[in-house]
């Protein structure tokens, strides 16, 4: 009896550690360099996703906009927030690219084509990127220091599941480089 209790005690402790404590300690939180609000830009500035996250002429995706894009409007302060002031002072004026941390950063050997998914398959940004586009602040960047990837990165399973459902690409080289 005593043995069983001890066993179960160990079991419970391990379960608690593994399910509750482990996720908490595994990830390191890292703030984004600028407290950017998608909501403000979508509503007040009337912008759509494509205005900043655009396709180039050759079909490649420009991803996170460069400083040039932001400076186009924010050469001078457009509002009164501290975040904007901070941005102009530390990035626009010294012409320094913000070191954005990419939630969706894939390993080097992965090839992902936005054109195929957005233009051909007409997928919505929210399907893979969630509600980040309508949030008032950027979610915290949680990175796993052992693997080097963010908590929100899509795993191969997530991609493959959708592909199987839709009956598309099956060959390794389709997505790997």
């Amino acid at each position: 009896m005593r043995g069983t209790i001890l066993f179960l005690a160990g079991l419970t402790a391990a379960l608690g550690a593994g399910w509750i404590a482990f996720p908490k300690v595994l990830y390191r939180h890292s703030p984004q360099p600028v407290d950017f609000s998608h909501k403000v830009h979508a509503e007040k500035a009337g912008q759509k996703c494509e205005d900043c996250h655009a396709f180039r002429d050759d079909g490649s995706f420009a991803g996170i906009p460069s400083l040039e894009k932001c400076s186009g409007c924010h050469a001078a302060a457009m509002g009164t927030t501290a975040a904007e002031k901070n941005f102009i002072e530390h990035y626009v004026t010294p012409n320094r690219e913000p070191e954005w941390q990419d939630y969706a950063q894939q390993p080097e050997n992965v090839w992902f084509s936005h054109a195929t998914h957005v233009k051909r398959a007409s997928m919505k940004c929210e399907t893979c990127h969630g509600s980040i586009g309508s949030a008032g602040t950027l979610p915290a960047y949680r990175v796993d220091p052992v693997s080097g990837y963010s908590r929100d990165v899509m795993s191969m399973d997530a991609c493959v599941n959708c592909h199987w459902q839709k009956g598309t690409e099956h060959s390794c080289l389709d997505c790997h480089k």
Binding site: G59, E108, N109, W111, K119, R120, S171, L173
Partner: protein, 251 residues
């Protein structure tokens, strides 16, 4: 319809300049030789061999034969033996894709490949300081301990597919693109295209009487067709490795 990407290589036009070898290394982020590298430990996804008619000087005549992965279509030997399923034959292009990220480095595929077209990373890649700025973002660099080989410039194929998607073309349409070696060859000896497209240059040339394939009798159904008007060059096709007067017995 599925594509079968293939090549025709005109041996009578090849002068052995090596532009294809250098262009391939540039495109695919292949590092320069490590200090201990020799011609058995190098990384040469495409390699130009010098072959000859077997006679002594001055009756000796030479030719140059570029050899790369032949993209075997029938019972692809390397795909067959890989314990990791790191080799994947794509039915819609016919390309035999090598996945270095899955490879565990057993080199069974290197033994199985009758064309010696697979190469092992004996060392981690190293580029002189600053030269890493010239790396191609379309191709991932490999670490040591994995096998790599020609994938018919999958990086360029990806970009062509993306352009096609952006231009509204259907996914089932095979895309037009040019691998680095084909683009680099100053003599135009290497041509690339879809063998399943009967109007393509490669489909025509592959059917000419002077076209042949390497080690045809093995039945690997390779997609690289060589071409030469010289009879002695055609007999080279049956040799285990072009240019190896003595077969490599050191392993």
């Amino acid at each position: 319809m599925n594509a079968r990407y293939g090549m025709t290589i005109d041996i009578d036009r090849c002068n052995g300049c090596g532009a294809c070898m250098v262009a391939c290394a540039v495109e695919n982020n292949i590092p320069p030789a490590h200090a201990g590298a020799n011609d058995r430990k190098g990384l040469t996804w495409i390699r130009v061999y010098k072959v000859d008619n077997g006679k002594e000087y001055p009756e000796r005549r030479s030719a140059f034969v570029p050899v790369l992965c032949q993209q075997c279509g029938n019972e692809t030997p390397c795909a067959h033996v890989c314990p990791q399923q790191a080799v994947d034959v794509d039915p819609k292009t016919g390309v035999v894709g090598q996945m270095p990220e899955r490879c565990l480095g057993c080199r069974y595929c290197m033994a199985a490949c009758p064309y010696h077209a697979r190469y092992f990373n004996w060392w981690d890649p190293a580029w002189p300081k600053g030269m890493e700025k010239t790396l191609n973002p379309s191709v991932a660099p490999r670490m040591r301990g994995v096998v790599e080989k020609c994938n018919f410039c999958h990086g360029r194929w990806h970009e062509a597919r993306e352009r096609a998607a952006a231009n509204g073309l259907a996914a089932s349409e095979p895309v037009d693109y040019v691998p680095a070696c084909v683009e680099a060859c100053p003599a135009g000896a290497i041509r690339f295209g879809n063998l399943n497209d009967s109007t393509s240059e490669v489909a025509h040339k592959s059917k000419e009487p002077d076209s042949f394939r390497l080690l045809e009798k093995l039945g690997t159904d390779p997609k690289i067709y060589y071409h030469s008007k010289r009879d002695w060059v055609k007999t080279i096709a049956e040799a285990p490795r072009p240019g190896a007067g003595k077969e490599n017995v050191r392993g």
